[in-house]
């Protein structure tokens, strides 16, 4: 029975602690006159040079435009555990943030349950195209196949060996969209080029991404691309071997200024700005956004340090133009 005695003491202590310290911090109510307050929940670190960072950069940019007194944001990064993220979303909503951004397609189900409980808070989630018909939910996605296609066109033009390598994470979602767009771009430019695609089964395994890049180069690739945060391993290899690299999600030029040709970057600011103005005018949600080359939520960033031949650059620009005016059909995802 001694054990039970100990347990009782244990539990009493817990109870005492909980009652003694249960002092709720008052939640600041949302006011139209105060700053616009945004909370964002991201699955990976905000400095991942990929998906999470793209949202952080956008919010920092908006804060720069609007000023710190007009725009505040808080964040919880590394929330890859879905029900932890759900708790965070619920908590931020209950604290009266104007807009809670759930920056990961895995958060959709949680948002679907939480959003109806907080009709005065706007929620946004992505990448996804579905607002579930809930009036206070926005959705946003990226037509990442578009920049993928442009990268593919450029890659095909620069390719000499006849082989291009692609390092992907898990064969789904945004990454797969980008990769499929890239392959389409290469094939449209030169159908004879072999595009080797490999998915390493993880968003985090930098070592395997690096080895995959080595293998691609061994198989003859002289141009490579890849998606998600583990590709930094592949970029390192490309740099060492002098193989050209095309990036996506964030500007990866700083990783290897010698060999990065171009990157498709996500500028969510386009989307978030519109959400803010809608919320401020009383529309809480219901709109599904897609960043694209057309609305400049997707941008092609060329590495100024890389001597890209003018005719190749022209091909890229033509592809961008064609995608925008609809003369180029990628055949992957899209409007």
């Amino acid at each position: 029975m001694k054990r039970f005695g100990k347990l009782v003491i244990f539990l009493v202590m817990v109870a005492m602690l909980s009652t003694a310290c249960a002092t709720a911090t008052p939640a600041a109510p949302a006011e139209s006159t105060g700053p616009f307050r945004v909370a964002v929940v991201t699955p990976s670190a905000i400095n991942d040079l990929a998906f999470s960072q793209s949202m952080y950069d956008a919010l920092a940019k908006i804060q720069g435009e609007m000023g710190k007194d007009k725009f505040e944001f808080v964040l919880s990064d590394g929330m890859f555990v879905v029900d932890d993220a759900a708790a965070a979303i619920r908590d931020y909503a209950s604290q009266g943030y104007n807009l809670v951004i759930a920056h990961g397609s895995q958060y959709g189900a949680a948002l679907q349950e939480i959003a109806p409980d907080f009709p005065n808070v706007s929620f946004a989630w992505g990448t996804a195209g579905d607002t579930f018909g809930i009036p206070n939910v926005f959705a946003y996605e990226a037509f990442s196949q578009e920049g993928g296609y442009v990268n593919g066109v450029l890659a095909a033009a620069l390719n000499k060996s006849g082989t291009i390598g692609v390092v992907g994470p898990v064969e789904v979602g945004d990454a797969k969209l980008y990769v499929d767009g890239f392959v389409a771009g290469v094939k449209a430019t030169n159908p004879d080029i072999t595009v080797n695609v490999n998915y390493i089964g993880s968003f985090g395994d930098v070592a395997l991404a690096s080895e995959a890049a080595q293998t691609h180069i061994g198989a003859g690739a002289d141009v490579m691309t890849g998606s998600a945060q583990m590709v930094v391993g592949a970029v390192g290899v490309a740099k060492e071997k002098g193989v050209l690299w095309f990036g996506t999600q964030a500007d990866q030029t700083s990783l290897a200024p010698e060999i990065v040709v171009a990157c498709q970057i996500y500028d969510w600011a386009v989307v978030v700005r519109d959400m803010i103005s809608l919320v401020q005018s009383g529309t809480m949600g219901g709109k599904a956004y897609a960043v694209s080359l057309e609305n400049e939520g997707l941008k092609m960033v060329y590495n100024a340090g890389f001597a890209l031949p003018a005719d190749v650059k022209a091909l890229g620009d033509a592809a961008v133009k064609g995608i925008i005016d609809g003369t180029v059909t990628i055949g992957v995802g899209g409007k």
Partner: protein, 378 residues
């Protein structure tokens, strides 16, 4: 029953160790420019501050407890099961596959069957390292580590393919299942997120206690763990009990996975890691079990406190806006401090044992005196 100061100290030891670790954490918080008092106030509020907070804590503690009681069984048989993550995944996958395949069965039938299927699937997945150990002498640490990765890839494969939500098509498909029928949601105990799974876990913890200490099989499992060669000499089929204990251990993790699906998430999604589904409960459950003295009943408060720490720490991050990495490091410190503090408990236990022995000896001496003999006779 007598409560001595030293046994109170023993009971409070994990708490004292946790507070010491948090004191070290306070230094880190100051270095990061956060006010530790505000931070820890938020931690406690996040874990215990309201009905909802306590409910969240219990929800978090539930898989820890289920994995933990499985760990108790394995540890008692002398094997370490670090395959909880993979076993949870298997439990989740099999139970959701069943629920999605038969969406029109009454919940009262489907829920118990699905949980049972999760229990069995986890048991089979846990049985693999058991069988490999018993039959081929493959160490369970090796096989469970490998099987965790295999389970993750299996999850990716199934959620991309056969189990994917029907409307997820094309390149941008999200690797997730459809939501289970609402009738299959585990009933809520009170109007919070608290679900029936917590009650199931507590009942099972008590049941496992009786199983281990009141049944022949349980006795044999413990005997194998205490001394395998003596057990074999006594005619116990050691290998069989090792397989059984790893199966049971896996089964409870599998059940934890099934309960996570039916009680919390109601669907499954993968990002290529185990933790996004399990919340690392497969590992943290080991810690909770040890904090509970590898005793299924002790695992109950231990899981609750560990769950509180996890839930509260996330709140701390939100309130003082420190990087989430600090929370991980802090959890590590708490684990290290608590497990290290055990030395004082053991020292106390030894002192008590010696004192009790002395008292007994004194009693024996007393009883053997003429008066004592008279009393016995009377």
């Amino acid at each position: 029953m007598r409560i001595s100061w030293s046994s109170i100290f023993d009971a409070l030891l994990p708490l004292i160790a946790t507070l010491t670790a948090l004191a070290v954490g306070a230094v880190m918080l100051v270095l990061l420019g956060a006010n530790p008092l505000v931070a820890y106030g938020a931690l406690i509020e996040g874990a215990f501050g309201s009905f909802n907070a306590v409910a969240d804590t219990i929800v978090k503690a539930t898989p820890l407890l289920l994995v933990g009681i499985g760990i108790c069984i394995a540890f008692r048989a002398g094997v370490i099961n670090i395959g909880g993550e993979g076993q949870m995944i298997l439990g989740g996958l099999s139970s959701i596959a069943l629920g999605l395949a038969f969406p029109n069965v009454p919940g009262i039938i489907m829920i118990p069957v699905a949980l049972l299927v999760g229990f069995i699937a986890g048991g089979l997945w846990g049985g693999i390292p058991g069988y490999l150990k018993a039959r081929f002498n493959v160490n369970e640490i090796l096989s469970t580590i490998m099987l965790n990765v295999i389970a993750i890839q299996l999850m990716n494969l199934l959620l991309r393919g056969p189990l994917i939500q029907p409307n997820q098509k094309g390149a941008a498909a999200i690797p997730q299942t459809a939501r289970l029928a609402v009738e299959y949601d585990l009933p809520r105990l009170i109007p919070t997120r608290l679900h029936l799974g917590a009650l199931i876990a507590i009942i099972l913890a008590v049941a496992v206690y009786f199983f281990l200490w009141r049944t022949t099989i349980g006795y044999r499992i413990r005997a194998v763990g205490l001394n395998a060669s003596a057990s074999r000499y006594a005619g116990i089929k050691v290998e069989r009990y090792i397989v059984l204990s790893l199966m049971l251990s896996g089964a409870f993790s599998g059940l934890a996975g099934a309960i996570q699906v039916y009680g919390v998430n109601h669907f499954m999604i993968t990002d290529g890691t185990a933790a996004s589904f399990t919340g690392s409960a497969g590992f943290n459950g080991i810690v909770a079990a040890l904090f509970g003295q590898l005793h299924p009943i002790g695992a109950i408060p231990a899981s609750f406190l560990f769950g509180a720490l996890l839930v509260g720490a996330n709140k701390l991050q939100r309130v003082v806006q420190v990087p989430a990495a600090l929370i991980t490091a802090l959890n590590g410190l708490v684990v290290v401090f608590v497990v290290s503090s055990e030395i004082w408990r053991r020292k106390n236990a030894r002192k008590r044992a010696i004192r009790e022995l002395e008292e007994k000896l004194a009693n024996v001496a007393h009883n053997s005196s003429p008066e004592g003999g008279d009393k016995d006779a009377g």
